[in-house]
């Protein structure tokens, strides 16, 4: 797996999900089952055995036995200010490291506070394990103090969840949850831990983490389908690759680069995939979709073959499905068969692991498609629809400029995290991403407040890399308390607040679609973020408040449900 990603970022030491579990299985099949005394001890031993590194959480009554067991463990635990922060930190930890981040919370409000972060991880297929305390089994169903139906609540937002039944099996359950979170298409799993189960005595240590055999993912794509896909690509005149988040999660960036360059196929990405293909490459068309580049949206609208790898064709990416790649034969590779033909029909379906399927295709495709003209056309679109914002001297500071300045001032492997709003879009548009796992954002759920706790998780996962967070003045306030955590942990992260004193993205939509009626989108007063930072942030984090042009809008823009090819470049085009 070492060739999947550039070695300078340590990917070679950090094996991909498959290699990792194999390697661990090798080592650990010989290892003795760890000795434990309680259910909680089994939980902690299971985390250790599964390869967990760091936990993010908040204490509380029902989870106390687990925390007590952690007291003797070498696992690092970061106490967060709020459980939502714990979930986002664990999520970002998983994105940056490829190893599931773990978050812990007590029952009731602890679990419900986690829910937003779990849903976020679920939408973005990020590996994460959530452990929640629960009232003792005999009280379940009685509306006991701090009881919520956590497995019921989180069933729709987890890959799967478990209600721990007994101290003897809880270790294995946690091991399975961890293994499942990273296997195949990653996602969050949750184990609800009734206090009697964690408190009870047991000597049943966790076995080797295992996932149900009935759910083993398919790794190699069907050979006939691969041949079909290869013939389709060979005869393409206007081919385009659409790389999705699965390329990052499957450690397939190396295979993608090799394949695209070998056959001269332009590459566009979804938002979660940003970084898997260097954005300064000649073949890079960058991001497709609502706020994607004009050239990416032109390319996807006019391509005749679309090779989509590890993407779920989210509606913010496709725009109206009627006009999405309307003339393209779609070759769709995904490790999750349920994504095939869910939103966009696949003419050729390749169920398998992204890196493996790209290797299979590479071996099968006999010659480069005859697409010189198309590449030329794509290049022309890149000129025509260049992302050149204007900077007249008499206008206020441009957010795009702030993003570019940070990009220039930081290393190539710096990690960017964001909140949600206009600032998020400027960050993705104007930072030049070159490597996978450098872009950390809330894509599918679009959770305001994601940026700061995500920066904490990212910095913990990669202490040697720079971490920059772009936050909005609204979004930052949702989780600003986590600054205290960055101080306690002495995490050197930089928060750049792109402050427009607006719920900017909403204001932009109101101007475009609601006659400029600014209902609940103008802030009559904004905190002095620098003063807040002085109180909350000493050593470690720094906060910079940028008063940006309050009237700045994000373009290009495809209105929801609109045609990607009809993106607006200014307000009068909407």
């Amino acid at each position: 797996m070492s060739e999947h990603a550039p070695p300078e970022f340590g990917e070679s030491e950090r094996p991909g999900p498959d290699a990792g579990s194999e390697a661990e299985a090798q080592v650990e099949s010989d290892a003795e089952t760890p000795a434990v005394e309680t259910g909680a001890g089994a939980v902690v031993a299971a985390l250790e055995r599964a390869g967990a590194e760091t936990l993010f959480g908040v204490q509380g009554g029902a989870i106390m036995p687990v925390y007590d067991a952690l007291y003797d463990s070498d696992l690092r635990h970061v106490t967060m200010a709020h459980e939502q922060g714990a979930a986002h930190a664990a999520d970002a930890f998983g994105i940056v490291s490829g190893t599931p981040g773990v978050c812990l919370a007590t029952s009731g409000p602890g679990a419900t506070n986690l829910a937003t972060g779990i849903a976020d991880a679920d939408m973005d297929s990020d590996p994460m394990v959530a452990l929640t305390g629960q009232v003792p089994t005999e009280f379940v169903g009685n509306d006991a103090f701090q009881e919520t139906d956590t497995t019921g609540l989180t069933a729709p937002i987890t890959k799967t969840n478990y209600f721990a039944q007994s101290p003897d099996s809880v270790g294995d359950t946690v091991g399975e949850a961890f293994a499942l979170a990273r296997e195949g298409r990653p996602g969050p799993t949750l184990v609800d831990l009734p206090k009697d189960v964690t408190q009870a005595e047991t000597t049943a240590g966790p076995g080797e983490p295992a996932t149900p055999e009935t759910h083993a993912p398919q790794i190699d794509a069907d050979e006939e389908a691969v041949a079909d896909a290869a013939r389709t690509l060979e005869r393409a005149e206007k081919p385009l690759i659409l790389a999705g988040g699965g390329v990052v999660k499957g450690e397939a960036s190396g295979e993608l680069r090799t394949f695209a360059r070998e056959y001269g196929v332009p590459v566009a990405t979804s938002m979660p995939a940003v970084g898997c293909f260097p954005e300064d490459d000649d073949l890079a068309m960058e991001m497709i979709g609502m706020h994607g580049t004009g050239y990416a949206n032109m390319a996807v609208t006019h391509c005749d073959v679309l090779l989509a790898v590890g993407t779920r064709f989210d509606d913010r990416l496709t725009g109206g499905v009627e006009t999405f790649a309307p003339e393209a034969e779609v070759v769709h590779a995904d490790i999750d068969p349920a994504e095939i033909s869910k939103n966009v029909h696949a003419d050729v379906a390749l169920v398998g692991d992204a890196a493996t399927v790209l290797d299979q295709l590479d071996a099968e495709v006999a010659h480069e498609p005859d697409c010189q003209e198309w590449r030329e056309q794509c290049r022309q679109w890149k000129d025509e629809y260049a992302m050149d914002y204007r900077t007249p001297d008499d206008e206020p500071l441009k957010p795009q400029f702030v993003v570019e300045a940070f990009d220039e001032a930081t290393d190539d492997d710096a990690i960017v995290t964001t909140g949600v709003g206009q600032h998020q879009m400027w960050a993705v548009q104007y930072w030049t991403f070159r490597e996978p796992r450098t872009w950390v954002s809330s894509h599918g759920l679009g959770t305001m407040g994601y940026g700061l706790p995500a920066a904490i998780g990212a910095k913990v996962a990669a202490p040697d890399r720079e971490v920059v967070t772009f936050e909005g003045d609204g979004s930052f306030l949702m989780t600003i308390q986590e600054l205290a955590v960055a101080v306690r942990e002495n995490l050197d992260i930089t928060v750049a607040v792109l402050n427009n004193e607006y719920v900017g993205m909403v204001r932009q939509w109101q101007d475009a679609f609601y006659d400029g009626r600014h209902s609940a989108s103008e802030y009559s007063w904004c905190p002095e973020f620098e003063t807040v930072a002085a109180a909350l942030a000493h050593d470690g984090p720094s906060v910079v408040d940028f008063r940006i042009d309050p009237q700045a809008n994000v373009y290009p823009m495809v209105p929801s449900g609109g045609a990607n090819g009809e993106f607006a470049l200014s307000e009068d085009q909407l």
Binding site: V344, H345, E395, N553, E571
Partner: protein
Amino acid sequence: MTGGLPGPAPEDRPQPDGRRNPQGERIDARGKADPETRTAVVSALVEHEPGVLAKVSGLFSRRQFNIESLTVGPTTVDGHARITLVVEETDAGIEQVKKQVGKLVPVIAVGELADDAVRAELVLLKVRGDEPDKVHAITRMYEGQTLDAGPRTITVQITGDQQKIDDAVDAFRQFGIVEIARTGQTALARGDTPTTPGESPAASAESTAERPESEANRTESATNRTTTEATRPQPTDND
């Protein structure tokens, strides 16, 4: 407002003529503008554990799958249950149902039943008891049973396929139906065909702890865990 970018306006750009239907199929190549729905019977073999039914039914509501009925009951294997789902969807929708149900971790295998599958449903009908002889005659006609006969009401049970039950209910209307309870369809594949892929009826009756799949077809069921027919998502049949 600021932030506008250079480049030709939408009306000055070339736009392709092609279109997709709401299912994401190119209309010219394969998809109809408005594909029809059909009824399918989907059987799922599941781990009989707390919450599994909630997970399956929750999936149907949150994905807006049209479900006509859902039945659940134990199998010959301890710890396994069979859920039978009747759904009304387009072909693409039925594929989605099978794959999404198959993804649920407590689900062991999923299959769509062929048209010739054995299906049955049970109905309990409570009718007015004014004409007991006639009620008994109709009950016999539908090979039903009388479960309770009182001075004011008679309760009968009819089993059979959906059509037979519908007909029976119609026939009993003349007496005045007081209450009705229907179970929804349950079904098994005909003959030696396993109801869900990899399921081996004979073996599962013997082994109580093991999963019913043999080693050989386990891979089959893990990758192709969706239907009894060819299950891997099929390339389009353009011809």
